[in-house]
Assembly symmetry: C2
Homo-oligomer: 342 residues x 2
DNA sequence: AGCAAAAATGACAGCGCTGTCAACACTGTT
DNA sequence: AACAGTGTTGACAGCGCTGTCATTTTTGCT
């Protein structure tokens, strides 16, 4: 029914061990032998039995995705990306949703690692940005890869995929500046998230670069939610200095801001430009569609998983750092301010 | 480091096989022996090695969740529910996202089943509602459980968890009727989905029961999307007979309808009541929050997974049928029509 | 050609568990 | 007391693969 390593060995006229070597990309196999085996593998459509591999070997062929993110879209994207890498490399994925705020979350994850014997973990915010957690986990016999906001890895504990929110925020802000906006507001997300800090700094940087003053009254400290956008926009538009553009820390906030603006009878984008961040499905479910920054989550995740798998095989550099900068995606919620004739 | 069955056997003073029997709830173990072993298991915190189990036994200890659903919230809920059941029962979950519209999707899933040797599959729409697909898969040596819309299982091929969209739609419609609405519109989702049909029928049933006419002009055939809600509401409000309430086939459509209504300057719910369906996070991210029907997806999924696992162990009835009726959840988007004084 | 070193290959044990089957310990019966 | 019948337990092989180490083949060099 299902081909085993034995079948392949017999068909190819070599020993089981040689087939094993080929399957694991080990050296010390003559090229001609390797090809012969590979041909047989293809012919019989052989796929190694994961259970047997895990049982027999010292290495493990599974990795886990540990997450706590209320954003389902993000999780699904990450999961799909990781899964792609796993399928390609013959790995298994264990998904481990859990609560980052739980008192003994570190112990819980440590227990999971010991129990499941996974070879590595993919960590996304908030876990990837919890120094103590990362440190404790990295003492275990398990590889890590972290996806986080920033431009430089904070330490050498694992490979990191950095998402350059700062530069992307600069792009968005410059887009608004170039459209001719003078009063650009910012609605921030949760203060605890690194992404909030990075995006806010990018916004400030762009203003400074263009000799524009930073007006703290135009900066709202909110959280990553629709309601926060609603409130933020209301506060801003009732303030002394009315912005002609609002840069929201993510699409959900932007959707809220947009909603609020329409309630106030504003014509978007003519009277107020609104930009989001993330390019989540949210940004396409508003009207007009949001200008945002596209973050290729699935690709980031696949990249991260590949890096992780390479680590578990002791391949690749020790602690490579990948970097992604979300790209500006101009849609219909931004334009030149009213009265500038564009 | 990690306790094996051998350690347990030694500590308890019995043979490995006896421990195995206890772990698998097999009969023919004296009560006193069973307790002794269980105590040792607890003491050593022993957990069977899944890889070894899968390798040695004829049974498998993993199930797969096969899905193709663009709704990330739904998928995450299902996944979490299934995962809970798996954790409790010592099973492993394989997640298998794929494209239901792909030409040879059936062959692809069959290949996956053979390859991974999973003991069972959890199927949600659209897979659970594809008769040929289900039939082909059920010929395999794999158990199934289906979650689908309706009140009666369509066949005896597997246990089914039925979600009674019909009755829930009746509840929502009656809620609107009781508020005093006379002209109640309906915006349907994708015609191909059974849930659309069931909800539409529930809507019609409620109207009939209350001696109200069914006006086809008040029924919009759309799809499960925000845009569809926007368009649908626009069409309805420009029609000859203006509804005072709109029942949307899901929350996303309702959000679109709500958005559209606000653009038209309507005061919600005073001038127009809008109800959704699903209680997705969407329904809480609108303003006002949507009246909807709550579908306990996570619970449904856990229930389904438990049923599936019972099947793989040949426990439980042959083809049990579970049923859930989503519950009416009244929030702020519905009220008595203007001029009725409530 | 002859030899040591290096490269390629294979034999074999064993990972932690389950299935099979044999062995043993009790019953209640004649 | 001898027996069958039932309930309980354990010995042992083997699942499909990898790690170790021994063996064979090839290579580079004199």
């Amino acid at each position: 029914m299902k081909a085993t390593i034995n079948d392949v060995a017999k068909h190819a006229g070599v020993s089981i061990k040689t087939v094993s070597r080929v399957m694991n990309n080990e050296p010390s196999v003559r090229q001609s032998t390797r090809e012969k085996v590979q041909a047989t593998v293809a012919e019989l459509n052989y796929q190694p039995n994961l259970a047997a591999r895990n049982l027999a070997g010292t290495k493990s062929y599974s990795i886990a995705y540990v997450y706590d993110n209320p954003n389902a879209y993000y999780v699904i994207d990450m999961q799909n990306g990781i899964l792609s890498a796993c399928r390609r490399q013959g790995f298994e994925l264990l998904i481990h949703p859990c609560d980052a705020k739980k008192e003994n979350i570190t112990e819980e994850v440590i227990a999971m690692v010991k129990q499941s014997r996974v070879a590595g973990l993919v960590l996304t915010p908030p876990f990837s940005e919890m120094p103590e957690f990362v440190e404790r986990i990295s003492e275990l016999d398990v590889k890590l890869v972290r996806i986080m906001s920033g431009d430089l890895a904070p330490d050498q504990l694992s490979p990191c995929i950095m998402v350059n929110d700062h530069d992307a925020a600069v792009s968005i802000t410059e887009h608004l500046i170039e459209l001719g906006h003078k009063e650009i507001a910012f609605i921030a997300g949760d203060a605890g998230h690194k992404s909030t800090v990075e995006r806010l700094n990018g916004y400030k940087k762009a203003l400074s670069d263009h000799q524009m003053a930073i007006n703290e009254d135009l900066i709202i400290h909110g959280e990553y939610s629709f309601e926060s956008g609603v409130e933020g926009a209301k506060t801003l538009m009732q303030g002394e200095v009315k912005p002609t553009a609002i840069f929201s820390c993510n699409d959900e906030i932007a959707a809220g801001a947009l909603f609020s603006a329409r309630l106030m009878g504003l014509d978007i984008p003519r009277e107020l430009s609104i930009a989001g961040f993330e390019n989540s499905p949210f940004s396409r479910q508003t009207w007009p569609k949001l200008t945002t920054a596209h973050q290729p989550n699935e690709q980031i995740a696949e990249n991260a998983a590949n890096l992780l798998i390479a680590q578990t095989r002791n391949q690749g550099e020790a602690n490579p750092v990948g970097q992604y900068t979300p790209q500006l995606l101009v849609r219909d919620s931004t334009s030149s301010p009213a009265g500038t004739g564009t």
